[in-house]
């Protein structure tokens, strides 16, 4: 559905995107994760047609997005800091969306009114951050997009409303093959909803896989040995990090986990356990390998 091919972008000499390519399949929820300043918002602005790529192509449904009214009718985005016209009420903003988006479904808008318990005559600027977010979802989902781009979508929403909003989005994905691109730092939340995950770092996509594959590609072993095996452990291939707490070793392994498992088993462990990593841990270890490591700073 969304194809980004070798897109590069510079801001005042700084390379914000470096020949980035990504592919978001139709009817999937794609989580875009990366550290601050990695280029997430920049690539989102390319996909929703705000920014013209310096080189490379950005297509949605096979057509270039930039300056393409037809394609942009199907692409909607909700930024973390969602924009609305000052002085406009929800009703006025809905009228604007209706004027702009041909597929705006008034019936759906009315139905969603019951989900989002918000006074549609109230000025949006007088609402809380969470309420503004709800309005953004309300209007965007009423516009019946084929592609929904969400930048920190659940920030400001209470737990109940988060669940409610996610359910609406997932229902659209299931019912009408809505394609969703989500950028968030809340990896725990993404883990629950994403089918695919892309990790962006310094303007380049360093990993793009189905969530399960990505989680499976890095695993954690906990093992304990009678003998001193430190030298053997250090010599293992694909081990990202080794730490020891008491007599228990923790190993983060990337790549051929079976081979590592066999080697560890051959060292006669007292304890040998394989543990799946969370998305957050995968993210930290993937980027740790690229030098984006957290520092243990004690003041």
């Amino acid at each position: 559905m969304i194809k980004v091919c070798n897109v590069t972008k510079h801001f005042d000499g700084f390379e914000a995107l470096s020949s980035l390519s990504m592919h978001v399949r139709k009817g999937t929820i794609y989580g875009l994760i990366g550290p601050n300043g990695a280029g997430k918002t920049t690539i989102i602005n390319h996909i929703n047609g705000v920014t013209r790529p310096e080189c490379g192509t950005v297509t949605v449904g096979g057509e270039s997005v930039y300056e393409n009214e037809k394609i942009k009718q199907t692409v909607l985005s909700i930024a973390d800091d969602w924009f609305y016209f000052a002085g406009y009420s929800v009703k006025q903003m809905a009228a604007f969306y209706k004027d702009i988006y041909e597929r705006f479904d008034t019936e759906r808008y009315e139905k969603l009114k019951e989900v989002f318990d918000i006074d549609e005559k109230k000025q949006i600027r007088k609402m809380s951050k969470g309420q503004k977010k709800q309005v953004a979802f309300w209007l965007s989902l009423s516009a019946m997009p084929e592609v929904l781009i969400l930048d920190e979508p659940l920030d400001g929403l209470d737990p109940v409303m988060r669940k409610q909003v996610l359910n609406l989005v997932i229902a659209d994905v299931a019912d009408r093959e809505l394609t969703v691109l989500v950028s968030s730092h809340n990896l725990r939340e993404l883990e629950d909803i994403c089918d695919w995950v892309g990790i962006i770092h310094k303007g380049a996509l360093i990993a793009e896989k189905p969530l399960d594959d990505l989680r499976g590609s890095v695993c954690k072993y906990q093992a304990s040995f009678e003998a001193d095996v430190e030298q053997e452990l250090n010599a293992l291939n694909g081990v990202l990090s080794i730490s020891k707490t008491g007599s228990v070793y923790s190993l983060i392994v990337k790549g051929d986990a079976d081979c590592v498992h066999e080697t560890l088993a051959s060292l006669s462990p007292i304890l040998l356990e394989r543990i799946s990593l969370t998305l957050e841990e995968v993210f930290i270890y993937e980027l740790g390998g690229l030098g984006y490591d957290f520092k243990n700073i004690i003041f």
């Binding site: 705000v50 057509e63 009214e69 924009f83 702009i100």
Partner: protein, 560 residues
């Protein structure tokens, strides 16, 4: 593949109208208070004025049209700033450009929305004025005058809005829209004025005229808009002029579209919407500020070379780093010192070339005698026509005076500056060379005394030799009329012919008397806008050198 797009989007247009309708209401109210309400409450029905109103409709008089046309200069700037604010805010630019509306459609819809917001109050006011006219105020102005009033205002906003939109799409900062809009209107005008000022200080002999400044002003939208209020353009304006002022704003609107189309969304909130614009704006502001400030200071610095260059270095620094701060919105600008050094060196070199050398040859250019058809020399400050002579001997004297005056060119005009000596040549090839040299009375007298030995030339120079037919009246001491003017004029002329230049023009400044003759005469071939002859006046202070005149006065019993 890019899809086909329409030119107009009703959603964008409606949102512009809806968001800024308060502005249109405010504009209408102010217009109505200054026109319709003012007429209703003003008591303009004075019988003595009614005849005058037939020829000069009340609402087309400058007192009525001036304020609406001032608004027609200010309102388009505010409108463009509001309507195109979406390219100045990072949040809004992302929202707007993510909408399924291409830039062309967005630009046209926003532009028309803004124009509608300004045009509707004008049209409604014109209708209100018409209603007032037909409801008993028809003697002050007619409904047709309301249409003219409306067209003047619409033309004003049409022209001014084009420049305001151009400024708005050029920058990513709302405050900068105002600055750029002022620069768009004033840059050429201010540059010309500033350079004139500087030339007057440094280019010795330059004949500074306002011709360039006037030409710029005549073609400036803001001055044109105001001139609609202060001149009755309906009688003078040609269709060619109307076409010109329709096509130029249209071209600016088209140019603005291409600028908007190619500007990058991420420049929102930056002063420069384009990388190159930052430098252009910086050097425009730096140049203007430097030229103006330096010309003003240099005039008072005299010929002290060190003082001049220290001032230049300081002024360049203030202007350069000040504009850098404005563009970068930061005080940390000292890092760009290289640009400052380049600018200061270039400016100093330019000033140096003009002030200390005859690099351009302007100050020292004296034509060859054989190329000259006529020549003129005089020290009038203001004179429409120079007293030219083709007398070979006189021309030689003028050339000699010119050579002497250019032998020691002062650094600035501040040095030894009492009066100005105008030297002018009409060459045989049709060219005219004009120079005006600031000089001292002593030097001026030295040259002119010799020249005034030629009676024919003196008669051309002195207004007292004006044709008798053109004399309107002659007054003694400015108020006492004379019965036999011709006799008095003969006595005056005889005295003038007998006196030297010094006695005629310098001595009266020393020997103050309470006696004088005021002569008013028609300027030959000059008519005012009503077709009447232009009257000029001269006052001759009667020093003791005017023996014939004083005797005549005594003999005829006017003075004791």
């Amino acid at each position: 593949m890019t899809s086909k797009t329409s030119f107009f989007n009703m959603g964008i247009y409606k949102s512009v109208l809806k968001r800024y309708s308060w502005g249109a209401l405010l504009y209408f109210t102010i217009l109505f208070m200054s026109t319709g309400l003012s007429i209703l409450s003003g008591g303009y029905y004075h019988a003595s004025d009614l005849v005058y109103y037939r020829e000069n409709p009340l609402i087309l008089r400058s007192s009525f049209l001036g304020f609406p046309l001032v608004l027609a200069i200010v309102v388009p700037t505010i409108t463009a700033l509001l309507v195109f604010r979406f390219i100045h805010s990072k949040k809004q630019v992302v929202f707007t450009h993510s909408l399924p509306v291409c830039r062309k459609t967005n630009y046209i819809s926003s532009l028309l929305g803004g124009f509608t917001l300004m045009a509707v109050p004008i049209v409604l006011n014109a209708l209100a004025l018409m209603l007032i006219s037909v409801c008993g105020y028809g003697l002050l102005y007619t409904p047709a005058d309301c249409v003219t009033w409306m067209w003047y205002n619409l033309a004003g906003i049409f022209m001014m809005y084009s420049c305001a939109v151009f400024s708005a799409v050029l920058t990513g900062n709302s405050f900068a829209v105002i600055v750029i809009n002022i620069l768009v209107h004033a840059f050429l005008f201010v540059t010309a004025a500033a350079l004139s000022l500087m030339a007057e200080v440094f280019v010795h002999g330059i004949d500074v005229t306002n011709a360039v400044i006037d030409a710029i002003a005549e073609n400036n939208f803001a001055t044109l808009t105001m001139s609609m209020a202060y001149n009755n353009l309906s009688e003078e304006i040609s269709w060619l002029r109307i076409a010109e002022y329709s096509v130029i704003p249209l071209a600016i609107y088209v140019l603005s579209y291409f600028i908007y189309k190619h500007r990058r969304s991420e420049t929102a909130s930056d002063v420069a919407g384009f990388a190159v614009l930052g430098s252009v704006l910086k050097y425009m502001i730096t140049f203007l500020a430097t030229v103006f400030a330096f010309a003003l200071f240099a005039e008072n610095l005299g010929s002290n070379l060190t003082a001049i260059f220290v001032t230049l270095v300081i002024i360049c620094a203030i202007a350069y780093f000040g504009s850098e701060m404005l563009i970068k919105k930061s005080f940390a600008v000292l890092g760009s010192y290289k640009g400052y050094i380049c600018f200061a060196l270039l400016f100093a070199a330019l000033v140096g070339l003009f002030a200390f050398t005859s690099f351009f040859g302007y100050e020292t250019r004296i034509p060859a005698k054989e190329d000259i058809a006529q020549a003129s020399i005089y020290n009038y400050y203001y004179r429409d026509e120079m007293p030219y002579t083709d007398d070979a001997e006189l021309i030689e004297q003028i050339l000699s005076a010119h050579e002497k005056i250019t032998e020691d060119i002062p650094l600035t005009r501040k040095r030894l500056y009492d009066t100005r000596l105008h030297i002018s040549y009409k060459l045989k090839n049709g060219d005219v060379i004009k120079r005006v040299y600031p000089t001292t009375y002593d030097q001026c007298t030295e040259f002119m005394n010799k020249i005034y030995e030629n009676d024919e030339y003196k008669m051309k120079c002195e207004d007292v030799f004006v044709d008798d037919d053109l004399i309107v009246r002659v007054l003694l001491n400015g108020n006492e009329s004379v019965k036999n003017e011709k006799e008095l004029m003969q006595a005056l002329r005889a005295d003038v012919l007998s006196m030297s230049f010094e006695e005629l023009n310098v001595y009266p400044m020393i020997a103050h008397t309470n006696r004088g003759v005021q002569i008013e005469y028609e300027m030959k071939g000059k008519k005012d806008s009503d077709g009447n002859a232009v009257i000029n006046g001269m006052y001759i202070e009667l020093t003791d050198k005017y023996t014939n005149t004083l005797n005549w006065i005594k003999e005829n019993g006017y003075y004791n």
